[in-house]
């Protein structure tokens, strides 16, 4: 496995890899703490719900990208496997979006679930 733009000596290259892994590990731990703190913060009322949700989801995405890029060696292999991975994400997001109208919008936020749902768009 050759690496471009890295020191030529074999051991130095390996040490660099270990350093990268360790850095990512520390970063992941810190990010977990951040999301946990964001959750506590919203419960204590320091920040509002939307901010905390944004922080938490963003943290999750960043953690996933770090694991994928460094731990799963996608920084080397992305060019070779992206065409396998990208379609599945498009498909997954699309599926969730298409499920939304029927499962999410159909329900009224203020409704008692025991009452029959009332249409949002007036009379149908």
């Amino acid at each position: 496995m050759t690496e471009t733009g890295h020191p030529t000596t074999h051991d130095a290259a390996h040490d660099l890899r270990v350093k990268a892994y360790f850095t990512v590990f520390i970063a992941l731990s810190i990010f977990t703490l951040v999301s946990f703190i964001a959750n506590e913060a919203v419960r204590q009322g320091w920040i509002d719900l939307y901010t905390s949700v944004t922080i938490i989801i963003a943290v999750a995405v960043i953690k996933a990208i770090l694991v994928g890029l460094i731990f799963m060696h996608l920084n080397f292999d992305w060019g070779k496997v992206y065409f396998i991975i990208v379609p599945i994400f498009i498909l997954g997001v699309m599926m969730m979006m298409v499920l939304m109208p029927d499962t999410v919008i159909a329900w009224q936020p203020s409704q008692n679930p025991l009452e029959p749902p009332v249409s949002t768009t007036g009379t149908r």
């Binding site: 379609p87 599945i88 498909l91 699309m94 599926m95 298409v98 499920l99 109208p101 029927d102 499962t103 919008i105 159909a106 679930p113 025991l114």
Partner: protein, 600 residues
């Protein structure tokens, strides 16, 4: 110059495998393909018998009392029993016949041979993918004999009929219907096994096609069969996990009282009551059809690929528009992921979604039309050899046009409002599944039988079988369009209860009689198949003078397929070059002098 690897013969000459390892638990893709073929054909008989029972009930709901028919049957099936029969007919045909035959049998057999590989990338995984079908076989067949009978909620198994939660602690009875008890659980478990088997197979096929091609076999020199199997494998791998999730959620609903598909407030069924609920029933339909629509493309694309190869071979002409054909298959598959809602136009789903699904569904006609015109372009002006395989392939094209056209009607939501759950849908299904996929399968069997078994099937009886099948299948399924337009609903156990259907009941009887004759015609095929296995004329390596790589191997090919790894020099459709003596030029043949080398 030669980069042949001749280790295949030596490497496998070391030990002789036992009968069990050679023919039963084989890792050889050819044997596994033949295993899928035999299981598929056996289940074809079972599914066909169930179909005859369906036709018996629909054609003669109050029994048979025809003056010219010697047997009279005075019975009438109960609605529950009839529901079980049509549900299991569909389930078996889809999951245990067509998908295993097209992807399991033909995929396994042809892919390594056609790309010049010794075997699949993961032979042990391949073997497991076949043997994972056996628990499915056992469970689905035993479901007929469990308490309450086999699943009877349609092959679509919608909640709440299928998934009403067991009253806690009262065994696996379902408050909705006796068939939704253990029978439905068996149905779910069997399909889970089929799904796992298919996923294992699809990963194997994709890896093999991506990485194990012979030198010179670029992606755009692969035969259409392999392209079709490749894209089908992509469809399977991306869509099956969603079905797996849906099946598991319904299984959990039925066993541990989860509430994914039970609406809030619960439902009462007589004295029983489901639990408190909280989920959404429509969600099942979305998850189920997200897989099951790509599934119907899984059931047609391999046949399309095989038909392309068969047609060009027997028209002795290159395939018209090879790259557009590949792009069309990819287009059908890609669009196939965004059209599942057209099965749900009448389900109460958001009409705005319906518009999107309608547009995408109508668009699928475009790549399908490209393929149809390209098949016509292939045979245009050709010197056609009307072998049995060719007849079946041509019938595929013609019947697919009819099936596809009825699909256009249903794609338009306003029209589907009328046609949904009528026999018009049943006609469409059977034109694309029976009369396209099955003709494709028959064509493939007649075409590759010599390669599989080293003998030729009888051409004369093959043509008799074809003519009778073509005639009787049209007689059975075309009138379904008519009675569907008349408003005949599907899944009804006795349509004579409704006065407005009185006029079409004679058509129902006609279709039932045709169906029985159609079944009888298949006996010819079975006799031909088994007789030729043992007494057919010996076939050489290339009886059809075809170009693709599998015809350079002996019939049947040994373990390891090729004595020397072939080197591919050209595409698979070099037929009819006027500068040559022979009218075909196999893919791995060295370039003859005087003929310019291909551009790509």
């Amino acid at each position: 110059m030669s980069v042949s690897h001749s280790h295949s013969a030596e490497a496998h000459a070391h030990h002789e495998l036992s009968f069990l390892r050679k023919y039963i638990f084989s890792e050889d893709h050819k044997i596994i393909g033949i295993q899928f073929l035999f299981s598929g054909l056996i289940f074809f008989l079972i599914g066909g018998t169930l179909a005859l029972l369906v036709r018996l009930q629909v054609g003669f709901p109050k029994g048979i009392n025809l003056p010219w028919f010697p047997i009279s049957w005075g019975g009438r099936m109960s609605p529950d029993f009839y529901a079980m029969v049509f549900s299991m007919h569909a389930t078996i045909m889809i999951f245990f016949v067509i998908i295993p035959l097209l992807t399991g049998a033909f995929g396994n057999f042809t892919i390594p041979l056609m790309i010049g590989a010794r075997d699949m990338a993961f032979p042990k995984l391949n073997m497991m993918s076949y043997w994972f079908m056996w628990p499915a076989f056992a469970v689905i067949l035993s479901s007929f004999f469990v308490e309450g009978g086999a699943g009877a909620s349609g092959w679509t198994s919608y909640p709440l009929l299928a998934s009403a939660t067991m009253p806690a602690g009262e065994g696996f009875h379902s408050p909705a219907s006796p068939h939704s008890g253990i029978g439905q659980i068996c149905w779910l478990v069997a399909l889970l096994f089929v799904g796992v088997s298919s996923m294992m197979g699809s990963i194997n096929y994709m890896t093999t096609i991506i990485n194990l091609r012979a030198p010179g076999m670029t992606m755009f020199r692969m035969p259409m069969t392999v392209w079709a199997m490749f894209i089908t494998a992509i469809l399977q791998s991306m869509a099956l996990p969603v079905l797996t999730v849906a099946l598991i959620l319904q299984l959990l609903d039925k066993t541990i009282n989860t509430t994914f598909f039970l609406p809030p407030g619960g439902m009462a069924f007589g004295n029983w009551h489901t639990g408190p609920g909280g989920g959404q029933t429509l969600l099942w339909q979305h998850l189920f059809w997200f897989y099951s629509h790509p599934a119907v493309y899984i059931m047609i694309l391999p046949a399309m690929g095989m038909v392309s190869d068969i047609i060009s071979t027997f028209a002795r002409k290159h395939l018209f528009g090879y790259k557009p054909m590949v792009l069309a298959i990819a287009g059908i598959a890609g669009l196939g992921f965004i059209v599942w809602g057209h099965h749900m136009f009448q389900s109460g789903m958001d009409p705005r979604l319906g518009t999107g699904f309608m547009i995408a569904t109508i668009m699928i006609a475009l790549p399908s039309a490209v393929k149809t015109f390209n098949w016509l372009g292939t045979i245009w002006g050709a010197n056609i050899q009307y072998t049995t395989a060719m007849l079946n392939a041509l019938a595929f094209v013609a019947m697919f046009v009819i099936g596809g056209l009825s699909g256009i009607f249903m794609a338009a939501t306003p029209v589907d409002v009328y046609f949904h759950d009528t026999y018009f849908i049943v006609a469409h299904i059977h034109y694309v599944l029976f009369m396209s996929s099955i003709f494709g399968i028959f064509g493939g069997i007649y075409y590759w039988f010599p390669k599989m078994f080293g003998r030729l099937m009888n051409e004369k009886w093959g043509k008799v079988h074809f003519v009778l099948t073509f005639l009787f299948s049209n007689c059975t399924f075309f009138p379904m369009h008519i009675i569907g337009i008349a408003g005949h609903p599907r899944r009804y156990y006795d349509s004579t209860l409704y006065r407005f259907l009185d006029n079409v009941q004679p058509l129902n009887q006609f279709m039932t009689i045709s169906a029985f004759l159609l079944a009888l015609a298949q006996i010819i095929f079975l006799v031909n198949f088994f007789w030729s296995l043992f007494r057919g004329a010996k076939a050489g390596a290339n009886p059809w003078h075809s170009n693709t790589l599998e015809w350079t191997a002996p019939s049947p090919p040994p373990h390891g397929n090729f004595v020397q790894t072939p080197i591919v020099r050209r595409g698979p459709y070099e037929y009819g070059n006027p500068d040559m003596e022979e009218d075909y030029l196999p893919q791995a043949e060295p370039q003859p002098s005087g003929i310019p080398a291909p551009a790509h």
